[in-house]
Symmetry: C2
Subunit: 138 residues, 2 copies
Amino acid sequence: MFSIGELSRRTKVKVPTIRYYEEMGLLAEAERTSGNQRRYDHAGLERLSFIRHARDLGFSIESILSLIELQEHPDRSCQAATEIATSQLMDVRAKIKRLRALEKELVRMSKGCDGDGVSEDCYVLASLADHTLCDHEH
Amino acid sequence: MFSIGELSRRTKVKVPTIRYYEEMGLLAEAERTSGNQRRYDHAGLERLSFIRHARDLGFSIESILSLIELQEHPDRSCQAATEIATSQLMDVRAKIKRLRALEKELVRMSKGCDGDGVSEDCYVLASLADHTLCDHEH
DNA sequence: CCTTGAACCTCTAGTCACTAGAGAATGTAG
DNA sequence: CTACATTCTCTAGTGACTAGAGGTTCAAGG
């Protein structure tokens, strides 16, 4: 049995965040000492590691709640869990696609100013003001 | 001169968002009719287009405030503006890198379950529970 | 046993960039 | 002049935390 601070150290999840997860129902309410302090065991550690890993992968609290529910009803859970993971993957891919378009435009913008001459007008500001300078839509 | 609704239609920025931008100091306080309704002109339209474009590119409100300030003091503004754009570019690239790692792991996770056999345990849930299954760190 | 000080408790409020809704006033078309 | 869409201000909610106040408890050293 160990304290919330120890759990925090082992999982790299900050103390207030652990309490927040408990409040959100991701973590079961922890046992308490006679003095009302939380105590955790190995199961609590594993659960929190699971949550942290899922958050690192960009799953929302809501998705994680679903995944935890699935863990507790193992019958036919695999398909549903895979669906959640796949939807998360679609999400990530959409974000990558969008960011790549942004990258392209930012590169073009940043390059404009420091050419070989002195530019009268700032290319960055001009680019932002005039959308028609973009070679893609967003 | 046109209303906030008209401005909203032309820029695709929602009405409450326009008011929010005004409150944040991104937009100058609009002229008002005798009945206290906001009226905009072409300059207002351009300013809002600029803001929307910058937001689309992921610039924070704070960065946009800086860019607007630079617009108003055109002397030596180019270098500073380019710095902001470059920092934004670094940011976007870091995000892309991270998302690509996530993509990789999610692909691996999602593939686990629907192989040719029937898996006893859900690979998605197992992957999340056991970080050592990852082939990269995050 | 007692003290010290780190760690813990609850609670409220703040972050960012909006979004939603209430309730009242205004603008415009027929 | 009457509908009724639009606008106004204000407050509160979103997601996933983070920060701080003010008070209590735990563990180690004397």
